[in-house]
Amino acid sequence: MANRPLPERIAIVLASAVGLAWILGALVDRQVFFQPVLFGIGTGTIIAALALGLVVAYRASGVINFGHGAIATYVTYVYVSLVDTGDYPIPPLPNPVAPIEGIFDIELFDIPTMIAVSESGTSRGIAIAIALLTAAALGLIAHYAIFRPLRYAPILAKVVASVGIMLFLQAAVVLRFGSRAKSADPIFPNDPVDFLGVRVGQDRFWLLGTVVAVTAALYALFRYTRFGIATRASAENEQFTTLLGFNADRQAGISWVLASVLAGAVGILVAPITGVTPNLFTVLLISSLGAALLGRMSSFVVAAVAGLMLGVIDQELFRLEFEFDWIPDIGIRRALPFLVIAIAMVVRGETLPSRGSITAERLPEAYAPPITRWRLSAYGLLVIVATWVTIFAPFQFRAGMQNSMIGVLFALSLVVVTGYVGQISLMQMALAGVSAFAVGTFGTDVGLPLVLTLPLAVASGIGFGLLAALPSLRTRGASLAVVTLASGLALEEIFFKRPGWFGLSRTNKVAPTPEVAGLEFGPSSSFFLGDDKIPTGGFGIFLLVLTIASCVGVMRLRRSRLGEQMLAVRANERAAAAAGVNVAMVKLTAFGISAALAGLGGALTAYKLGTYTGASFGIFVSLSVLAFAYLGGISTVGGAITAGTLFAEGIGIIATNEWFIDVGSYTAYVAGFFLIATAVYNNEGIDGFQRRQFFQVVNFIRRRRGLERLDLRTAGPKRGSADV
């Protein structure tokens, strides 16, 4: 205690004081004080158990696994399916002959969706065994196919890969089982018992006992066994541990299996209590991240205790809100994980242990193409085609185009903050939501004209963006990703779900029809060109103008001195500071610009939808925005445009559906898969891939003609010493 930093000491003293007051209160009135504890333990054990798995994975390979909850979900569904019907689900596989089938409209062979293990449901023991084997397999795949190849990759790639796991597994569950809740017979007995005058199901005590036992086992494993000590050593210095004859790689693999099996076990044990939905565990995972962060991603005991406490405090807040009218129902309860994470960050600061390994791999290049006449002509052509599609294409293509243009804005917002400055933000849609709700408030409720509403909406987004960015000055990398995820959730829970300026009007929000000087250009306003089906070209042109302006703006930002400073901060914060760059200001500016772009996208979404709720701006949408932006190419404007075409219901998806095959419900699944593949094999996304291919073709032709090779970066002849 003596050599802990001051804020930490204050936190410990405060926590002890609260705990003491609680115990004293409990002695006075058992019912009131024990009830939330007993009720909260149910949720608390899930949070704690997930947190334990997070810590295991982090200690094994320095990855904060955002897919941990999805692994739990997947394994739980496997279990439930086996017990219920005896079927083992096969994740959707690509049909190699699909194109032939599509063209000739025949079905050559059927890929199975389920394997029948037994006719009418397996016994519980067999189901558990098969489900946990599945979990182990997922752990092995996660390690050997994803995180081992990413050992030396930048943190961004690791975060993106784990988000990919989350999207992929959740989509697999939805495809196989639909999104309805499932439940199963309980494993632990749940006859109610009287405990200190409170009547509760006894299963929660079984759960609590299990979590305590697992915590103790993990503690002992990592503390006393050869395996645990070697794992700790390789977290300090992987190379040296390897030199001592330990197989660091295999240890990490074992830990991943352990983490996944733990996740699966959590799911199987609690599914009967809560019922399971495809995203249940991922929502709880945010609380678990808070608990694990309080334990610095390394202490099992702190993570478990914090997880249990979170469950209990959640129940206590619920009771207080219920009991006392003067406590406003402002969603504080739902924002709890955010508060815990924010406190953990302020108290613990940047002390998250990093692994003593070299991260030698480069970040995706922020390619700034030389401006040539060819290139300008290509841009011009692109604008002409886009304009034509926006006005004259069939209505479903026009709708796809509009979705894509808004998607480009969201992707651009990530290009600035993540691509240029290297700060991972998982809250972009929450910022978009703030602006979207501001459109309804200022435009419809107050009745301001568009020229005032739009800037006000974007300014609101910037305001919240800067506020949420403040922790970024103290944290970076994966912890920043966690903070932004929690901030997004807090915005959603505190504002979007209840009436307010940045919330609903009553049950939803209504945006006015955009108009300037009497000229209406909403999605259903009539337009003098094209057919009159909705959406009309007028709104498309409105979007097109703003999207083009944003693209040009971000391109110029990249070439400006501010843009260079951003890339300097991304490359090396210390060196940037020594070179006179005000790192804090550059980061805040980037977050501000990013929030403006996300906010603009949100405001335009509001105009597009007309009537909307917070559902369009949830954290899962934020995660898939990051997914698509990374897939397209996180560090270039071209990448953002590519990402835009891929967005759900974007022009690329619409075109694929119309011309080739119906991707439809498989979009998230396929995107998750390619996101993982992109993170592992090609961190510059589709844009960078195309660029390299293009230059290879160009250089092939040039060589045939006996010309000099061109440099990819400058598009001029190769110069300088290095690779002559």
């Binding site: 050599n3 480069r362 970040l363 290049e365 922020a366 110029r556 930002l557 070439r559 400006s560 001195r561 501010l562 260079e564 400073q565 890339l567 300097a568 991304r570 490359a571 090396n572 210390r574 060196a575 940037a576 500071a577 020594a578 070179a579 006179g580 760059v581 005000n582 790192v583 970066r713 400058t714 001029g716 110069r719 300088g720 010493s721 290095a722 690779d723």
Partner: protein, 253 residues
């Protein structure tokens, strides 16, 4: 203007119980190349880190730049004040071109100047081109640091430190580490050339040959304390230096 550009007074750095830099008072004279030597772990790099503002919570004392106390200012403020540095581990911006590396360091970016630059970007920064000329970086200006040889990268590091027009003194942290004999000699010549142009520098290095041959004045640290100061000739014959640093390999290197 006095003849002393940089003066530290009683500069002390503590890490918990460890006294890494102990009450160091030293001067760097204008237009001169001052050397700072000392065995491994003597606190040389820690000294630079403290002077350039990277150890705000661990250091105490006074740092005067042109007579003005600048101790406690943030690193980027110190850079604008004219105190710039290189790093032993280079720490170049690996993802951007050499020219951009210099560009980043070439001056303060304010809101108006950032906006002006955004709407009408200057073709090229004059000062950046000057430094490219001065250090002969023409052929590599459009390349990225990762594609360069170690010696070239060292020069880019130096260029980045002296490109700011407000630079008053350059602190060079072991610039010759990792260079071979001929590269080191070439590097020393470049440093003398810069001194000839009127720059002031503080050179930290292990290579006694380099330090003794190019510096005008030399300080020596041992266990965080300043134990000897003098001209190269004096240092060559100083028993403390011979004993502690050169050991029995002698002063003939």
């Amino acid at each position: 203007m006095s003849d002393v550009v940089l003066r530290t007074e009683n500069l002390t750095v503590r890490f918990g119980g460890l006294l890494a830099v102990n009450d160091v008072t030293l001067d760097c004279a204008r237009g001169r190349l001052t050397g700072l030597i000392g065995p491994n772990g003597a606190g040389k790099t820690t000294f630079i880190d403290a002077v350039t503002g990277f150890l705000p919570n661990n250091s105490s004392g006074r740092v005067a730049l042109d007579g003005q106390d600048v101790f406690g200012r943030a690193p980027h403020v110190l850079a604008h004040d004219g105190l710039t540095r290189t790093w032993q581990t280079l720490e170049l911006f690996d993802d951007i071109s050499v020219r951009s590396n210099l560009d980043v360091a070439s001056g303060r970016l304010t809101i108006p100047s950032a906006l002006r630059d955004f709407f009408r970007p200057a073709k090229a920064q004059e000062r950046v081109e000057e430094v490219i000329e001065l250090l002969d970086l023409h052929d590599i200006a459009d390349r990225q640091p990762r594609e360069l040889s170690q010696g070239q990268r060292k020069m880019v590091g130096v260029g980045r430190a002296l490109v700011s027009s407000s630079t008053k003194i350059l602190l060079l942290d072991e610039p010759a580490a990792g260079l071979d004999k001929s590269e080191t000699q070439w590097f020393g010549e470049q440093l003398r050339k810069l001194i000839g142009e009127g720059y002031t520098m503080l050179l930290i290095d292990h290579d006694m040959g380099l330090v003794l041959s190019v510096c005008d004045h030399i300080h020596m640290l041992e266990f965080g304390k300043l134990v000897a100061s003098g001209s190269p000739t004096e240092m060559r014959n100083n028993p403390v230096v011979i004993q502690a640093y050169l050991g029995h390999s002698g002063a003939d290197r």
